[in-house]
């Protein structure tokens, strides 16, 4: 037996330890993943698992014909882009601001981070009261007291999606800020001193020193925000249930409606497959863009 084989054999003993997890991973993750692909090409609906018929691309054609998919894709893309852009930029601004020598720094940091610890369902319930147009709506009480007309945050089909984005930003920007703060603290102070000697002002220091060195965390944050935005479900469910009309339906809410309300399991599986491919493509494009940006700034 050569050394390589011996080493492999020795490692095998340790790798046994991951076996239980691996079995469950395969059973509950890998297997459902591939079975989704399989079912998306069958006529699986109405709980009939026996006599499944292969229907080719029918399910895919079906979902692309449905109005629900078109509107939910549009909403998901708008949502994901807004979340990525604002979460990253607002988080960055907050982090840079709270990295300064402020007396209230710690209190402010905790305050901004606090919403991230609550469940989205609680946040949804809370904000549906805060933004309500009934007499219990906190914001609208203030707005009408100032003599303006009520703002129908969640009930206006043109505004509802943006109100949900606002709520999500309120919840998650603090979390992003914490990641950026950790990255900011790893930037050596002498780089700023060197920049100062070279005559850089605050903006120059941010642009030439801070931002390029923040690239790893910007990458992580923007990719997770994009994926999180595309698969958003809970907050929409709690705040608007996809309404009014279909104005806040996203891919996930439309998927759940197709599968559990309407009982079209195969069509739902096709929905899932399309979603998976779309997220994969978007993430790959984003990663390559961020990589290029990283190379340019280096």
């Amino acid at each position: 037996m050569n050394t390589k084989m011996r080493l492999l054999k020795r490692e095998l003993d340790y790798q046994i330890l991951i076996l239980p997890v691996l079995i469950f991973y395969v059973l509950f993750c890998v297997y459902p993943f591939f079975s989704t692909f399989y079912y998306s090409f069958t006529d699986y609906s109405n709980m009939k698992l026996d006599n499944l018929k292969f229907v080719g691309l029918d399910n895919f054609k079906g979902i692309f014909k449905s109005d629900l998919l078109t509107i939910s894709i549009k909403n998901s893309i708008i949502y994901a882009i807004l979340m990525t852009v604002f979460q990253t930029s607002l988080g960055l601004i907050l982090a840079v601001f709270l990295d300064r020598k402020l007396k209230t720094k710690n209190i402010l940091r905790s305050m901004f981070f606090l919403p991230a610890v609550f469940s989205p369902l609680i946040i949804g319930y809370l904000w549906s009261y805060i933004m309500s147009t009934s007499d219990f709506g906190l914001i609208n009480r203030a707005v009408t007291a100032l003599g303006f007309a009520k703002i129908n945050f969640l009930g206006n089909p043109d505004l509802a999606l943006y109100s949900v984005v606002g709520t999500q930003l309120w919840q998650w920007t603090g979390w992003v800020m914490v990641i950026f703060l950790a990255n900011l603290q790893s930037i050596p102070k002498d780089l700023y001193e060197a920049a100062e000697i070279d005559g850089a002002n605050s903006w120059g220091k941010f642009w030439r020193v801070t931002l390029p060195l923040m690239q790893p965390s910007v990458n992580v944050v923007s990719v997770t925000a994009m994926i999180g935005g595309l698969k958003v479900f809970d907050i929409i469910f709690a705040l608007t249930e996809g309404g009014p009309g279909n104005s806040t339906q996203t891919i996930m809410t439309a998927y759940i409606k197709t599968v559990f309300t309407e009982g079209f399991y195969a069509k739902g599986a096709a929905f899932g497959v399309v979603f998976f491919i779309a997220v994969m493509i978007i993430t790959m494009v984003m990663m390559s863009f961020l990589k290029k940006w990283g190379e340019q700034t280096r």
């Binding site: 003993d13 609906s45 109405n46 709980m47 147009t133 969640l154 009930g155 309404g243 309300t261």
Partner: protein, 425 residues
């Protein structure tokens, strides 16, 4: 390598034991052999809390000592999903709570048993929605209904009377508005209230006409459309929007907030059903309220939207068919209905010759209930019955002015077509 194989084998054995355990749980021999008598354990699943059937469960315990009826609560949002997974796996509770639509699906798939032997005891109104090809597949439980709650004190103060036509209802709204009181609260953030409110007028002016008796069944089969049939009634209903009684604001208000508005006297009316009574009384124990039904152009008893609530079906794969039938038989007696009703006051029984005394909050709907004018059109829409969610959502667009009635109805018809074709595949 040997060590590896042993570990692999152990893991596989453990896993198979775990899985076998899961599978056997539901099919395990139910009798507890250690007990004096052979007590058969059967399971009933329902989406309402145990409190809503407590008296009935006690009655089963008392009258059927040979049976141990285990109650399983499954939250409504997960209910269908969980039950269907269990049924697909050949398991599931012995007595399955269903709604009319799922009952007909399960019946066609052979998951629930023909229980026609109990059919004669029930009125047609209840048993029709739970029948497939003339055979009964679930016992119609206590009915549910929805009408318009109104604040009696506000009505008395402004000398307002319960309306008898839709026009009178509009006039009532106007008087309230003129007096600076919000006529009605509506949690239109949910798709349900607009759907039910609009169908109320359709039931009066279209569906109750003898020539439209089969309309709903035909709609469910894709033989007719809403667009072109419901338009006149619905155009009239939109007066509520045009005159500013139902407003876009309401799309930002949910069920609980609307309930708050009514219970605290901020709004004079609110559309809901018996299930809301307790919550209203908890918020405001002093509130005096009553309910009137939906009215049409002509004076009459009006209509309430509703129908048989839960249906109890027998799992055809269960090993305890005899015991299941004993329980269903007990539910189908006046005593069983009384026990079920006592935790669901307000609804009515579909068992022949069984009537209950209505609580005072429903005095003004007694005529409507007596006339049997309680109906939910979608219960007869078959495979298309799930389209009501889209119906409600499109009517949210009507309320916000983004759709006309005709456009909304066309969109609903299109979705209905998708559902019918999808199910026929």
């Amino acid at each position: 390598m040997k060590k590896f194989s042993i570990l692999l084998l152990t893991a596989a054995t453990l896993l198979s034991m775990t899985l076998a355990g899961c599978g056997n749980e539901n099919n395990a021999p139910a009798a507890n052999q250690g007990e004096k008598k052979e007590k058969v354990k059967i399971r009933i699943a329902y989406w309402n809390k145990e409190d809503s059937v407590k008296t009935l469960l006690d009655l089963v315990k008392e009258k059927l000592p040979n049976i141990e009826l285990e109650y399983q609560f499954i939250d409504n949002k997960q209910y269908q999903n969980i039950i269907e997974t269990q049924l697909t796996a050949g398991a599931g509770p012995d007595i399955i709570s269903t709604n009319p639509y799922t009952a007909s699906r399960y019946a066609k798939l052979g998951y629930i048993k023909d229980i026609s032997e109990l059919a004669d005891r029930y009125n047609d109104g209840g048993k029709n929605v739970y029948s497939v090809d003339g055979k009964l597949y679930a016992l119609p439980g206590i009915s549910w209904f929805e009408g318009m709650f109104y604040n009696k004190e506000i009505f008395e103060k402004l000398n307002l009377k319960v309306p008898t036509t839709f026009d009178e209802e509009l006039a009532l709204h106007e008087t309230l508005k003129q007096n600076g009181i919000k006529p009605q609260a509506m949690g239109a953030k949910s798709w349900e209230p607009m759907m039910k409110s609009s169908m109320g007028l359709v039931m009066n002016d279209f569906l109750s006409k003898s020539e439209n008796k089969d309309f709903d069944v035909q709609y469910g089969e894709g033989k007719t459309k809403l667009d072109g049939n419901w338009n006149t009634a619905l155009e009239q209903w939109t007066e509520l929007i045009k005159l500013g009684y139902l407003t876009e604001d309401m799309l930002g208000v949910d069920y609980d907030q609307a309930l708050d508005e009514f219970a605290t006297g901020k709004a004079a009316m609110w559309q809901s059903g018996p299930w809301a009574v307790e919550a209203i009384q908890t918020k405001n124990p002093n509130l005096k309220f009553d309910m009137f039904p939906f009215y049409g152009s002509e004076p009459g008893a009006g209509w309430l939207i509703g129908g048989p609530g839960v249906g109890f079906a027998a799992n055809s794969k269960s090993k305890h068919q005899e015991e299941i039938m004993q329980v269903l038989d007990l539910i189908s007696t006046p005593e069983g209905q009384q026990a079920f009703w006592s935790d669901n006051k307000g609804g009515s029984s579909y068992l022949k010759d069984v009537e209950f005394e209505m609580p005072e909050q429903f005095a003004s709907v007694s005529e409507t209930l007596k006339a049997g004018n309680v109906y939910a059109p979608w219960n007869n829409w078959g495979d298309a019955s799930n389209v009501i969610e889209d119906y409600g959502k499109n009517f949210q667009y009507v309320l916000s002015g983004k759709m006309t009635i005709a456009e909304a109805l066309q969109a609903i018809d299109k979705k209905t077509n998708e559902l019918i074709q999808g199910k026929a595949q």
